[in-house]
């Protein structure tokens, strides 16, 4: 009833094949974007700096991984390291050429990550499934070792970390300590919307379809004329480009300084879980997954305080682990295909409500 496409006629093929064919979807999307834009006016600084900015950046990284794992079926456990490549590339580029705008370098660092991703994607032609997942661990540990061992990457800082310099855009600080969370949030939001829009067009087009064909069965895809090597490497390239951009954003717009440990194996795992629990092969699922895995522990941690209970910080942390783990299992049992599938079911229910069929 609330969500019915009856009466919406499509007069061209183009309109019928658009990404959001239903009016309500377009309204909903517009509402979400407007809400995202006005959020800083109503929400506190903690909400923006520690919830929304990380959420957007992690969601972007999850989209990157989803291209590879969800759309092309290549499981990767090296996402954290590819984020690191983006971050270190951005740091090197922006400290070597400080005059050029930081946004240019954030995007450009994606290309560096892209090249490294393609290199480590080469074995994917021969190795499949969990075997490939473990092969990508080689990338994870090797790259992390490089971040520690190649001092050139961090400009020989004795601290061994990359520290974000202050950079401006139109006279407003966007990185460094003087940048307000709101500014950083808007920059992140703009990048995330732009990338999501491009990716959404990509996966709905020929390239995306060839990705999915490879995912569903690569030999069959090869038989219908999809060149496997090119498609798989393209998936690695697109995926690492996005994760690289997300990595650069993570350091420049969120953390402000990072040791190599920020890109460790846990980061890779957490991103993979965001993708799985959000929904493999779904862009909106990446957002759901990031929200559940990143924001849920924050809520659990804050809950006792909200209700005026005083529990030791460590006990809260243990309970956070326990509850987060239990909820992951719970969500998987309720809907193994991820939160994106729940969303679809919800929409369907809304469509037929109040009559169940």
């Amino acid at each position: 009833m609330f969500y019915r496409e009856a009466g919406q006629y499509k007069t061209t093929y183009q309109a019928d094949m658009s990404v959001f064919p239903i009016l309500q979807d377009r309204i909903g999307l517009a509402l979400i974007i407007v809400a995202a834009l006005v959020l800083p006016l109503v929400a506190g600084e903690f909400m923006i700096a520690s919830v929304m900015v990380p959420f957007l950046i992690l969601a972007l990284a999850a989209i990157g991984l989803n291209i590879l794992t969800g759309y092309t079926g290549l499981v990767s456990l090296g996402t954290g390291a590819f984020m690191g490549v983006g971050a270190y590339a951005c740091y090197k580029l922006s400290t070597t050429f400080p005059a050029i705008n930081i946004l240019v370098w954030i995007v450009a660092s994606g290309f560096v990550s892209c090249a490294v991703g393609v290199l480590f994607g080469l074995p994917s032609l021969r190795i499949k499934g969990f075997y490939l997942a473990v092969a990508t661990l080689a990338a994870q540990f090797f790259l992390q070792w490089c971040f520690v061992r190649v001092p050139w990457l961090y400009n020989y800082n004795p601290s061994g970390a990359i520290e974000v310099p202050s950079r401006t855009l139109f006279g407003i600080h966007v990185t460094g300590a003087s940048a307000t969370p709101t500014t950083r949030y808007y920059v992140a939001l703009a990048i995330v919307i732009a990338v999501t829009w491009i990716v959404s067009n990509l996966v709905h087009g020929r390239v995306g379809r060839s990705f999915m064909a490879v995912r569903d069965m690569d030999i069959a895809a090869q038989l219908i004329g999809i060149r496997l090597l090119r498609t798989k490497l393209l998936a690695f390239a697109v995926s690492s480009f996005i994760t690289g951009v997300a990595g650069a954003m993570m350091v420049f717009l969120w953390l402000g300084a990072a040791e190599p440990d920020a890109f460790n194996i846990n980061q890779s795992f957490i991103l993979l879980f965001m993708v799985i629990i959000g929904g493999l092969g779904s862009l909106i699922g990446s957002f759901f997954g990031a929200a559940l895995i990143y924001v849920l522990p924050i809520i659990v941690r804050a809950t006792p305080e909200t209700f005026g209970l005083t529990i030791g910080a460590a006990t809260v942390e243990h309970l956070t682990y326990l509850i987060t783990g239990a909820l992951i299992i719970f969500f998987l049992i309720v809907e193994p295909l991820g939160l994106a599938r729940l969303w679809q079911i919800g929409k369907q229910k809304l469509r037929v409500w109040p009559f169940p069929y």
Partner: protein, 441 residues
């Protein structure tokens, strides 16, 4: 399905609540957040420190009713030694007007360094963090007393020199350096290179990756091959007990194995009798036999207000936490004296830290006579570069075995200055110091 929707709604509602509802801060208290880690791979070191820090501040509240009549509002935030969680903690405590933060992790300290000046919250990174932040002219908001890691290495070297009969006797010796292969362990490398050149010893490096902390047999095989005359360790968390066990296994002479100030009693105890002779730097007592610790026991531990097991009160890392909290409390007290205010802010406490002057009389008043040496900070020196001593594991406890050792300041200071300058240049435009200097004393 309805259940699920309801629970999702509930979740959304809680998010909204937590985002907007910060508990109002009582007017007559100063807020001191403690970033601690009682979980994760470094919990083995973190728990003692967290207990020590917390218990001393609680003791002040119980015994004296706070500092200068103002209660201290203490709140722990669990970081798990994870930079991202640490920043989340920072953002969570920021609206409550903390008078200072203690990140207790070099990884969390680094991103906070540029923010401190903007948010007007001083950072106390006690003997960790960025060594160069000892330069108050460049880093007016960062304090890392009583020593930097570079001071620490020079003190170890001086001790080794003392054993050999003078620093000039180091020529031709081999000194092994086993370290956590992260920012913290790598920081002394430039100094080691410099000192090796100056004194003519050969430095052998044995990095231990964070993921391999508990799997060090390859490093110690290398030690067996190279046979260094002395071993120096910069470790943390699970790396330390493993290193001590491996050293025992390798039959390395334990009295030539010297660590920076981070091992605990448990780290040495795990290796059994073989660990006897193991040495480490320290700058405070590691027994409960001081009036201050007795007070903590009386007012906090015996009153059931501590999370610490009774037998751990007064151990090395617990006392480290006490020392850290003593600096917090004294900085607040000094800030109250300087400003004449009772409820001080972060800006006041920054001045309080610069004016910090804990002399022998003050130590006695604190019940810390013999516990530690005096310390005095200034506008340009945010560290103090205090002497430390070497203590040795005798199988059940650490025993002080050396006099106070001053750092090799003539070697360390130029490096610190150069490094602070380089930091400001690399992070250009780095704000110049605008904070006025009180120049009390």
């Amino acid at each position: 399905m309805t259940n699920l929707k309801a629970s999702l709604l509930a979740l959304a509602a809680t998010t909204a609540l937590t985002a907007f509802a910060f508990p109002a801060q009582a007017e007559d208290s100063v807020f001191v957040p403690l970033f601690t880690y009682r979980t994760g791979p470094f919990a083995g070191s973190g728990i003692f420190i967290a207990d020590g820090m917390h218990d001393y501040l609680t003791m002040l509240n119980e015994r004296d009713g706070g500092i200068g009549g103002v209660k201290i509002a203490v709140e722990e935030c669990e970081t798990g030694y994870d930079t991202k969680k640490g920043l989340e903690c920072y953002e969570a405590v920021k609206p409550k007007n903390p008078v200072m933060v203690n990140p207790w992790s070099t990884g969390i300290t680094l991103p906070l360094i540029p923010r401190a000046a903007v948010d007007k919250i001083p950072i106390l990174s006690m003997a960790y963090g960025l060594s160069a932040s000892a330069q108050g002219d460049t880093f007016p908001w960062i304090f890392n007393p009583p020593d930097t890691y570079w001071d620490g290495f020079s003190q170890i070297l001086k001790f080794i020199g003392g054993q050999e009969g003078g620093l000039d006797k180091l020529k031709g010796k081999k000194i092994g350096y086993i370290y956590l292969d992260a920012g913290f362990g790598r920081e002394p490398l430039p100094l080691i290179e410099q000192l090796a050149k100056d004194y003519g010893f050969e430095a052998k490096l044995y990095p231990v990756a964070a993921a391999e902390m508990q799997n060090q047999s390859a490093q110690w095989l290398n030690v067996r091959r190279d046979r260094p005359d002395y071993m120096v360790m910069y470790g943390w968390g699970a790396m330390q007990p493993t290193a001590i066990k491996e050293a025992v296994k390798t039959n390395y002479p334990m009295d030539k194995f010297i660590s920076i100030w981070w091992p605990s009693e448990d780290d040495a105890r795990g290796a059994g009798d073989g660990a006897k002779g193991f040495k480490m730097l320290n700058w405070h007592g590691s027994t409960p036999d001081f009036p201050v610790i007795k007070d903590v026991q009386k007012y906090v531990v015996d009153a059931g207000k501590s999370q610490s097991p009774k037998e751990k009160v007064g151990t090395t890392l617990y006392n480290r936490g006490v020392y850290n909290s003593m600096l917090i409390a004294e900085a607040i007290r000094t800030a109250q004296q300087v400003t004449g205010k009772k409820v001080v802010t972060g800006e006041d406490v920054r001045r309080g830290l610069e004016d910090l002057n804990i002399d022998a009389a003050r130590l006695k008043a604190l019940g810390m006579e013999g516990f530690t040496g005096p310390i005095k900070l200034s506008c340009s020196d945010h560290n103090g570069h205090r002497p430390t001593f070497v203590q040795q594991w005798d199988g059940t406890k650490y025993v002080k075995v050396s006099d106070w050792i001053e750092p090799l300041s003539d070697k360390v200071q130029p490096l610190l200055q150069a490094d602070a300058k380089a930091y400001a240049e690399k992070n250009a435009p780095w704000p110049a110091r605008t904070e006025a200097c009180d120049a009390r004393s």
